[in-house]
């Protein structure tokens, strides 16, 4: 059986196609100020074309994210449900998923069946999000892909105190003008985002292996900052350790999870209804 998952994020859309539990196709596209629905429709027909599949051969199209407008979907799952499943798919050891996207971050505690046990997500304030990192990197004249490796070279991270993403931008300007080095600024920001994530994780009561998903999971600087902070925390409190894992397909976790849940639902409920 073939199912598809479509994850509509605030900065990009992701498509994953699964066949009998295997990932057979994935594709992502930045929205870049284009209308999501159009981008999705195009990308989806491209997917069918590339896989040489007819529409009805895909048994369940599961959406996740901001996908209310996608009319050709079979069903919808909420982001944390899908990232939980996708995260577990990418790393079967994971007992928690941290999804860091462009505007929101989510921490989900799961069990070995990807059942969501607990979760937390950020609110209406965009402090410490991907978007924020993107703005800063643009300001600093570095690309989002290299931000991670630059951050790793920092020797003396500059604390970034601002809670607000916008004011932090000015803070960063301020730092440049004080002669602080780019890596130190970036690392400071990574640490401050990591701090927020660890707080979310805590609040979600997760423990053990944590798989990072979402676009920022590809940011090695953020990952390093997370490990560093978790280490400090461990020393202090002596318990609740996290082991962070990443996966090259981390950004697709939502789409993968959606496709997997689609298959599950299809087997369980939908098949009967269609039949």
């Amino acid at each position: 059986m073939i199912t598809a998952g479509i994850d509509v994020g605030s900065s990009s859309i992701k498509i994953a196609v699964m066949k009998e539990g295997e990932l057979i196709y994935h594709h992502s596209e930045k929205l870049r100020r284009r209308e999501p629905l159009k981008v999705i429709t195009q990308a989806y027909s491209l997917t069918l074309k590339e896989l040489d599949l007819k529409e009805e051969e895909i048994k369940y199209v599961a959406t996740t994210g901001e996908a209310e407008t996608v009319e050709f979907r079979t069903g919808h799952f909420y982001t944390m449900t899908t990232h939980a499943r996708g995260g577990l798919f990418l790393n079967p050891e994971a007992r928690a998923v941290v999804d860091v996207g462009a505007l929101h971050a989510r921490a989900v505690q799961i069990d070995e069946r990807a059942k969501v046990l607990n979760y937390r997500m950020t609110s209406q304030c965009a402090s410490g999000s991907g978007q924020f990192l993107e703005n800063i990197s643009r300001y600093l004249g570095i690309s989002i892909e290299e931000i991670g490796s630059i951050s790793l070279t920092s020797k003396k991270p500059e604390p970034c105190s601002s809670i607000c993403a916008v004011l932090a931008e000015t803070d960063a300007i301020n730092m440049v003008s004080r002669g602080i080095k780019t890596p130190d600024i970036v690392k400071g920001i990574h640490l401050s985002i990591a701090g927020r994530l660890i707080k979310l994780l805590r609040a979600s009561r997760a423990k053990g292996v944590v798989i990072l998903t979402g676009g920022l999971s590809q940011d090695i600087g953020l990952v390093a900052a997370l490990i560093e902070l978790a280490g400090i925390d461990e020393l202090k409190s002596g318990d609740r350790t996290y082991e962070f894992k990443t996966h090259p397909l981390g950004a697709f976790a939502g789409a993968i999870g959606a496709a997997l849940w689609g298959a599950f639902r299809y087997e369980k409920v939908y098949r009967k209804i269609v039949a």
Binding site: E66, F77, Y78, V116, M121, T122, S123, Q124, F264, R265
Partner: protein, 386 residues
Amino acid sequence: MSEINDILNRCQELYEDLSLGYVQRWKEMYGKKAVGFLPVYVPRELIRASGMLPVGIMGGGDQIEIIRGDAYFQSYICHIPRSVIEMALSGKLDCLDGMMFPSICDVIRNLSGMWQLMFPEKLSIYFDSPQNFESDTGGIFYQNELKRILDEFSKLSGITATDESLRDATALYNQNRRLTQQLYRRRADKPWEIPTSELYLLLRAGNILEVTEHNQMLERYMALASKENRKPLDNSRLVLNGSFCEQPPLGLIRALERAGGYIVDDDFVLAGRMIKSEIPLKGDPLENIVEAYLKDSKDVPFKYNIENKGDELVESFRENRADGVIFCAASFCDPGLLEQPMLQGRLDKDKIAYTSFQFAENTGQYQVIREQVGTFSDTIKLWGGQ
């Protein structure tokens, strides 16, 4: 179809009419006065027995744009006092001859003082309820408090409440309590028949309408609702907790239902449900009101309770056959938010699933909330109650 819609439209109108047209008309018609009260609870029997109309004020929701209200409150204070001030400053509360401020938190407490400074010509009563629930300690204090309030009322309305008028009022509110509880039971039985958004509007109407009118409305609605033939959905059953003071906007309540959850119990608009059963009519009416509060009132965050915190919530969860609990508290609501970890600890003990989020009465983006509740429902759907 149309009659139930008429009722709901009427409720919606009352809900949206922040200028309290109904109250103005009522006052003109009867030549009497009206007294407003803020959340959560005041014994409305006293206001009625003094020949006045009690009017529950629960903030301006998302229908009022705050310009002056923000001038009085810092960003880290909850939202309801700003909209109340905004309403008052724009003349919307002019028809209220007095205002009561129940002792539920520091914000409402201080608002009573602000009222004294801003509207010195209006009667403003800080209503101090006891945290000591012994009849001869807290009870005496409470009785004295009620007597003091009755005195003020009699000065305001020219009508002195008597045992008789207090008893009559109690009887009417008893009926209201009975009907409201019936409504809640009906919803818990068949939540698709009585959507929470409708139940909520009915409750809010009870804040404004004269009680006999509200009683009739409740009866009529219940009679009609069962004939509506609404279909059940594959939703989870949720108990909602934390919105005892500042109220979520109606859109948020609808969004919750759309995200796949039936609300089967809640703590919205508690004025009519604070006292859990009927108040006896025999004996001293004031004493009965006092005793009912001391011994038979709901467990709410602003009441001191160390012995059985959360038991009532667990009970509601069981009685209403719920799948989970949603904590839906106003941002910056100290009593509500400080209570939460204690309640959650209690739920953990019974392995009851819960989720939590915060809102403000003018929250307009439900995306994050929908996602959280949606995930919760997803989980229940995919995994059942296990």
